[in-house]
């Protein structure tokens, strides 16, 4: 895949080639919408997503002349929780500032943000890096308002005019800026996952809301150790800012693409200038940005309509809820989860809560079925776990635990229920499924079973139908047994336990042999 938008003609001598010990340096700037009921500076509801344009707007968030902002206490609380959870120093005094620029989605001609007096600074988040646990430093966390939403009319490449909806204008955002401590797209993805989970655990963020999280990434490729040695000093190669990433998967894709692009340029001996690029999600590529953003002078000054925030004492009073790491440790101790299961189950707040609701009778069984099966099936159907009634799932676990159904049947029932839930929002109970489909496990004593036994019958049929496999087995190919077992399982609609089937087949084969 070539990217002609970024390639510059080779007019310069080779400045440096990508050496084997170059490393990738990544920093992230993340914007998250806070899950308050109302906007940051007015009482309009934040629940705008399904509604008509311009129906969640008042004089303040419309920017009508004469309107004045009022700070949402809850938004500040939420932001303080985040600052505390990421081990930041909370400012003695934070201040809102105006960031001045002209764009139709910014109806005051300025955005109220925080500039040289942000709410929190110098924190960190520990993640699993490529080479073991690593600390990603957080430079700052500040609050700002979301602008409105622009729709371009007349085709993406040559828009004729723009349409503007201000429902989103004024939604509270926090901006989290990291130091360039990440060294790979995978680390970036892990960092974002942990960040997202932490924000959910704090109760300040809803990741299921579309567009609730946006990421800008800074990436460059420098000689190994350059960053530690010189910090932000003169770099050999420029730093590229990639904007407009609005999904977690998008981050890894955008960074991977960008690294490849930069490596190609380096290999060709071309100079890497600092630049701003846009991520085009649909095509998985970054393109050169045509905006004048590099030259922007935002003329920041303190917002004269608002008073400063002196909230360090308030931050000290905040008691944080259990966070992902603590919950993971507790799952391992309290429920005996394996480290992998614990990680999977605590990766999202809703999953963790679901798990704890269903773990009751058999925590290990529940862990396996939630982590290894349910999540996969939900993902496949693009469904959220909140749509699964915990009682129903518990019933399924109960049947499995009691040996009333086989694992295979369990999976079948689960898939059926999820399909029903997705379709209509309700589903049969597992017992109803079992009865309707005849999935009750076939009980048998393999050594004593006669030809009347459904398993024996199915096994005899299979042996008759699969002479080649039988021959293979007799010739020493033990794996042929797996195939035969599978065929019997199909015939019995998964109601036979694999161990039973195996025993029956073995008996029959020996008997005939």
């Amino acid at each position: 895949m070539t990217d002609t938008a970024g390639a510059a003609p080779v007019t310069q001598p080779v400045t440096s080639t990508m050496a084997a010990d170059d490393e990738v340096i990544i920093g992230l700037e993340i914007h998250c919408q806070l899950a308050t009921r109302t906007k940051l500076f007015c009482g309009c509801s934040t629940d705008y997503r399904d509604d008509q344009p311009n129906t969640h707007v008042c004089p303040i968030c419309l920017g009508l002349p004469g309107s004045l902002p009022r700070v949402n206490r809850k938004a500040v609380e939420f932001a303080l929780r985040v600052g505390k959870a990421f081990n930041c120093t909370i400012a003695q005094e934070a201040e809102f500032a105006r960031k001045n620029y002209f764009y139709p989605d910014l109806n005051k001609g300025f955005q109220i943000t925080q500039y040289d007096k942000p709410l929190a600074v110098k924190g960190y988040l520990d993640i699993e890096g490529d080479a073991g646990e690593k600390r990603v430093r957080i430079t700052r966390i500040h609050m700002e308002e979301d602008p409105g939403r622009l729709v371009h009319k007349g085709g993406a490449d040559r828009p004729k005019y723009s349409l503007v909806d201000y429902n989103r204008a004024g939604i509270p955002l926090i901006e989290i800026v990291t130091e360039p401590d990440l060294r790979s797209p995978r680390e970036a993805r892990r960092f974002l996952n942990k960040l997202r989970a932490t924000l959910e655990y704090l109760g300040v963020f809803d990741s299921e809301k579309e567009g609730s999280l946006r990421v800008d990434a800074n990436i460059s490729i420098q000689p190994k150790g350059w960053f530690e040695r010189e910090g932000k000093g003169k770099a050999d190669r420029g730093r590229v800012e990639v904007k407009n990433i609005s999904s977690y998967k998008g981050v890894e894709k955008a960074l991977t693409f960008e690294i490849t692009r930069q490596k190609n340029l380096i290999r060709r001996g071309q100079k890497l200038e600092s630049a701003t690029r846009h991520f085009v999600e649909a095509r998985g590529i970054t393109t050169s940005s045509r905006s004048k953003e590099m030259e922007q002078d935002y003329r920041y000054f303190p917002e004269p309509d608002l008073r400063p925030l002196r909230v360090r004492d308030r931050a000290a009073e905040i008691v944080l809820p259990e966070l992902p790491d603590a919950r993971r440790a507790r799952f391992m101790e309290q429920y005996g989860c394996s480290p992998n299961h614990a990680r999977t189950l605590t990766g999202e707040l809703r999953v963790a809560e679901f798990y704890e609701t269903v773990a009751g009778a058999d925590a290990m069984l529940a862990a396996t079925w939630v982590a290894d099966t349910l999540l996969g099936e939900l993902n496949y159907r693009d469904m959220s776990i909140v749509r699964v009634p915990p009682d129903t799932f518990r019933e399924l676990l109960f049947l499995l635990k009691g040996g009333n159904i086989t694992d295979k049947s369990g999976v079948e029932i689960l898939r059926l229920m999820l399909d029903q839930l997705k379709e209509s929002g309700c589903c049969e109970s597992p017992r109803e499924c079992v009865n309707r489909l005849g999935l009750t496990v076939l009980v048998t004593t393999p050594l004593a079973a006669t030809g009347e036994d459904p398993i024996v019958k199915a096994a005899q049929e299979t042996l008759a139908e699969q002479p080649q496999a039988v021959a293979d087995y007799r010739n020493g190919r033990k794996e042929a047994m797996n195939f035969l077992v599978g065929q019997v399982m199909r015939k019995t609609r998964g109601c036979a336990k694999p161990s039973d089937v195996n025993a029956v087949l073995s008996r029959l084969l020996e008997g005939e042999g």
């Binding site: 920017g63 002349p65 004469g66 309107s67 700070v71 139709p104 300025f110 000054f301 309509d305």
Partner: protein, 432 residues
Amino acid sequence: MLSVTFSPEDRFHAFITTLPRAEPEPGRLSGIPVAVKDNISTRGIPTTCGSRILEGYIPPYDAHVVSLLKREGAAIIGKTNMDEFGMGTTTENSGFGPTLNPADPSRVPGGSSGGSAAAVASGMVPLALGTDTGGSIRCPAAFCGITGLKPTYGRVSRYGLIAYANSLEQIGPMARTVREVSLLMEILTAYDPRDSTTINFPYRHTPDPEIRGTRIGVPEEYFGEGVDPRVASVVWDGITLLERRGAEVVTCRMPSMAYALAAYYVTCTSEASSNLARFDGVRYGPPADTRPPWHEAFQERRREGFGAEVRRRIMLGTFALSSGYYGKYYARAQAARQQVRDDFVRLFRTVDVIAGPTMPTVAFRLGEKTDPLSMYLSDILTVPANLAGVPAISVPCGRSEGLPVGLQIMGQWFRDEKVIDVACAFEQGVSA
């Protein structure tokens, strides 16, 4: 009670919009016609700020002060003319033509609340609302010969006031007499949580002309060069009158006056450059042409819709805030501002109020002042009160060359009551 009808012959062009009729409602201002400066939002009534860029704009909400007036049964009968967005000292910068001074129609009424002052001075209305960012209530009050008060910053809600310079401006009462100004002030100061820069401190006061023992400071700088000696003489006579009524007059110094005007103009133009960025014609006002791309359309709309003075100030403010210049201009202006505050703090340790002329001259002729800087310089005596946020009033204090002269009295933060008392004492002394 009969409804209030209002069919004025607006000889002085005090109004941009008039409402022919208002139904009477009960309240302390029942049936009293009140004029409202056109930068104060009035629901359902066009509000232009004296600018073409807001032509046709009809706010869907009332400013807090307008709700308060209505609550007391006032008859809002019109929106008064003003310098565009409050930027000016003469009301000649209006996009809708100048207002004339009723004392002498060949002269300016002062600005930017020239329309409100003329409406009161000519007898069209007894009460009017003005706004004061750098003297815009006091200057026209002085030039037209009426009374106007700039309240302590934070005492009157700015919710609904179309912003020019947020940290400097206040809405205030204008009327012929101190008693009427005081009455209106009682109504305007009801607390409004929608303005985060206000304090809940309503004004409830009957003017008390007893000023024996009151100490009045008179800064040298208020009688220095740049002040017309004839004006100085009239004002000095006024101060002497106060002395005869029992006040103690002491001279003092305000060295921060050297920086005050520069600090004011850097601050107000910076804030204005940001406040006026929203006028793009997309949501209100005459629309931008949607054929050219955004920046081109936006620039053109602003060139067409804003007058020269507004564009000049926006550019000055943009420059003062720009990268590389913020430290030289905006940051230093705030430091200078602190010095002005410190001067007032120091003076108020030994005096109760400060007095001097409101304006360095009497009203200019229409078209006389063409150079912006020379226009700005006439604000030198009024801007300190805005920079510091202290209350300040102008009361009529005699004439010079046949034209009204204003006496300015400034008081401590949140002691607007004392300023009113001294003004009342003066007014009574004059009539005695």
